[in-house]
Amino acid sequence: MSEDLYAVLGVSKQASSDEVRKAYRELAKKNHPDLNPGDRAAEERFKKISSAFTLLGDEEKRGKYDRGEIDASGQERPPEGMYRQYADSASGHPYQSRSGYADFADLGGAFSDLFGDRGRGAGRGGMPRMRGQDVRYHLTVDFMESVTGVKKRVTMPDGKGLDISVPAGLSDGQSLRLKGKGMEGLGGGPSGDALIEIKVTPHAFFRREGFDIHMDLPICLSEAVLGAKIKAPTITGEVSLSVPKSSSSGKVLRLKGKGIPRPKSKGQKTALRGDHYVTLKVVLPDEPDADLEAFMEDWAKTHATDVRKALKGAV
């Protein structure tokens, strides 16, 4: 790119720095991508204009450029994240405004539902009534808090506190909507909502899948062979659990109704809960054990079984 940067800004080589700045401003106002969404040509022009100005707007760099020490191409701006790259994406974002079509609710018919859920009551004439914008917060709760529910307080940018009660059973990434706790409306319009996105920090050994809890439970060799009654932690406390005789690693036992409370449906008095699944993990002694080895040697002589039968012929 060996374009004449003065031509890009439409100024003469003798232009003062004020004139350069003024020319840049005029062009930037016309071509800024966020003021011309959808106009690719304007975006290209804006890139050229701003890289020309990075060079010509700086006395020292301009001098070097005039003396031919640097050329126009050496000064392309690194592609910084332009706002529209995020604001114009298909997914929603916190700054998105629906006030530009709030009155579509008045159109009636099928589309009033599509556009109208936030636009109700937009006044006609006079002061524009605008619904306040939604405000989005992130709130981190730990695993057990998410299971039992918790009350939290966050401080909003204006310094006001907002109490949030997180209901039991929310999972990572779910959002709460607090009606009317967002930005104030304009001209008597209703306030926006506060959207609280919940982040749940993982637990050391409980894993959540839907409303069920999964965990690995270590058992020792004698418990695996002889069976045992053992205690297992669940989210509601310790529960006793029967390990059947001859349980292998990987065996899954279910503790019914010891999982996460499901949302109550209408008329339901107590919440149904998911289940708690325990995957057994047989743990051998840390050090080799002479007695065990002696016994196993004897035992193996008379108990040859092929546990890998199913894998044969697979490859």
């Binding site: 840049y24 401003r25 930037a28 106002k29 800024h32 966020d34 003021l35 969404p37 959808g38 701003s50 100005f53 910084e80 994240g81 332009m82 706002y83 529209r84 790259q85 995020y86 604001a87 114009d88 298909a90 929603g92 974002h93 916190p94 700054y95 998105q96 405004s97 629906r98 006030s99 530009g100 079509y101 556009f115 914008q133 405000v135 989005r136 917060y137 992130h138 709130l139 981190t140 709760v141 939290k152 966050v154 401080t155 909003m156 940018p157 204006d158 930005m183 996105e197």
Partner: protein, 111 residues
């Protein structure tokens, strides 16, 4: 995700006093973490850059910024809704699309 100090190093010509003012004005609304510290997403950083460009490069007066931002937000909101509608129309059978096009022509005879 960046905290305030990181954002100030990312955007060279932004100082923390200005940043506080922009947040108090509600122009930028970063998320808050559990200890009520501001956490900035990519879109927040891009929006801070945009406001910087509006103020400095485009020389837009401070009291005009809310109006400009509100217009920009509305246009992106409209563009999103328009895109959803166009996609919905695209997904229709040919005759339905034809009807819609004819209706558009009727309501905009100048086009």
């Amino acid at each position: 995700m960046w905290n305030e100090a990181q954002v100030l190093t990312l955007i060279a010509d932004l100082d923390n006093v200005e940043l506080q003012v922009w947040i108090e004005q509600g122009w930028v609304r970063p998320a808050l973490n559990a200890t009520s510290e501001c956490i900035y997403d990519e879109i927040d950083v891009a929006r801070l850059r945009l406001i910087g460009q509006l103020r400095r490069d485009l020389d837009i007066a401070e009291d005009m910024i809310p109006t400009v931002l509100s217009m920009i937000d509305q246009i992106y909101g409209l563009r999103r809704e328009l895109r959803v509608l166009v996609q919905a129309i695209e997904a229709q059978p040919d005759d339905v699309r034809q009807n819609i096009l004819e209706h558009i022509k009727k309501t905009r005879p100048d086009q």
